[in-house]
């Protein structure tokens, strides 16, 4: 599969995750979200940016409790829970948000 962003063809895997993490730009995230019919708001970007920072340090997406804690600190306690994250990313923060952030899909029993 492939994704076209600003005339450039970007390779993705069968499920639309980037084949090469270095291909990511904010426009890539916008294009992926648009294909899903999602408008990326500032709140989405808070999550996406945190995922990218965390991945940069740990080479893996954050566990759900790590993510909710970090978002709670940044955006207020009432948003530091998975319910809020599912509102933003109905297909699951781990999967949908990782995809927009250009990270590989979390594998395993999740």
């Amino acid at each position: 599969m492939a994704l076209e962003v600003n005339g450039k063809v970007i390779e993705t895997d069968e499920e639309g995750y980037l084949a090469n993490i270095n291909d990511w730009t904010p426009e890539v995230a916008e294009a992926m979200a648009k294909a899903d019919g999602v408008d990326l708001t500032e709140n989405h970007w808070e999550v996406i940016n945190f995922l990218r920072e965390y991945y940069d340090e740990y080479q893996i997406a954050p566990a759900v409790r790590v993510l909710t804690k970090a978002i709670g600190k940044k955006l207020g306690k009432e948003k530091g829970n998975s319910k809020y994250l599912y509102e933003l990313f109905p297909y699951g923060p781990a999967k949908q948000a990782c995809k927009y952030a250009g990270l590989p899909k979390p594998t395993g029993c999740v």
């Binding site: 740990y58 893996i60 566990a63 409790r65 781990a94 594998t107 395993g108 029993c109 999740v110």
Partner: protein, 509 residues
Amino acid sequence: MAEFDIPELKEYPIVPHIKPGAMEHSKPFVAKPEFQEPLGYPGELVDNWQQVAIEKLGELKGKYRSLQVFLDACVKCGACTDKCHYYLGTADPKNMPVARQDLLRKVYRRYYTFAGKYFPKLVGAVDLTREVLDDWYAYYHQCSQCRRCSVYCPYGIDTAEISMAAREIMDSIGLGQKYCNEIIGKVFKIGNNLGLPEPALADTLEGLEEEVYEDTGVKVRYPLDEEGAEILLVTPSADFFAEPHVDGLIGYGKVFHEAGVSWTLSSYASEAANFGMFIGSYENMRRVALRIREAAIKLGVKRIVFGECGHAWRVAYSFLNTLAGPFDFLDPNYPVPQHICEFTYDLIQQGRLKFDKSENDHMVLTFHDSCNVARASRMGNFPGGQFVIPREIIKATCNHFYDMDDWGIKEATFCCGGGGGLLTDDLMEIRIKGALPRMEALKDVVENYGVTHMAAICAICKSQFTKVLPYYGFTMDQIVSVHQLVSNAIILTRGKDEPGDEADTAEAA
């Protein structure tokens, strides 16, 4: 939500009229060479695949006598036909266990029986064609190896074993499944299914310690790689990562805290799951299992305890000793290995855990027996312990518990629909449809007893239900971990320097 019809929930499972070919299209992504090769398999379908597959079948039936018996023994009595959740949910006749077995059996007959070699049409023997291979790939990935059919088979034919053999044959010709094989590769490379490296694991556990301290005021530890600890806890990596799994992990830590034993997780063996079993590969299953042995030796532990993971407990309980034993370096006074439910249950029996059950009063519970625990292992030292022990833990920690109907619990339990290596998004249709009987059983207790939550002791079940419950009108948070209930209700003993400690209060006064 979905591009297919969600089955309608009835009062109890109704055997559907057959719809031939209804799930023919359901095929998981094929593993690329990069996921095949680390497991010792060809990267792509080999040119002489028919020959290699037939030889592999011959090898497997020689190595596993059970496979040969299962291929020979079926008398087509039909007892299994309505026992598979995937048949009940899809009506595709090839999802009847006997038909699923026959996909391999008809090829076995053609090449390995006298009648099949000379009079194939008389005995339903067929050549191994591309069409047959495509059917294998589709329908052996619509079996969660739950073994429910084998309970009702008068000969005890185990479809799970046939489906494992079929997957091993497909892997050996270069036609592997992406989901399982990518994951097994991650265990070899990083130590767990998720690919969670040691620094991320350490960070996650540190976060949990903080969280529990904030919640309870008690310093419960979640140690990693601590040499000399008494117990090595091996748990599915989903316990670190996902909800409600992590609440179970928090519960294990609280139980160890109250037991007063030292314990540790291992970053090298940071996975209980062993997908080597799902793909029927003894070699890969052994490689995964050996990591646990190596970690136990390196850390110098005396006991190994497994967290809430269904198929891991089958591998642990039934195979670990022959795969990775002998475990003569562990303390023989304890079961090798032990299940966390056995551990908690023992403490409850000894009166060493105190609970405030009212902490779970916002829930009315039922229990989902995970297939690999129910039908492929045991717990405790009495028959049926695997059914009794988790229920006794729930009853000790909750005021409201109701079992689902007999047709869907204990040895008759229905699979969650996502076991056996099917817990992947590319198989969502079969996962949702296969959950039908369990959803019907759940609906019954919801309507009749006001059940609000279902507890489970398997990472796959928990993730699967989180995903499929909403398709049937439930909510994703209605699935909980058994040790989450323990975690909610357990009364922790406070240390001297912990807030709320009576001594502190007395001094302040």
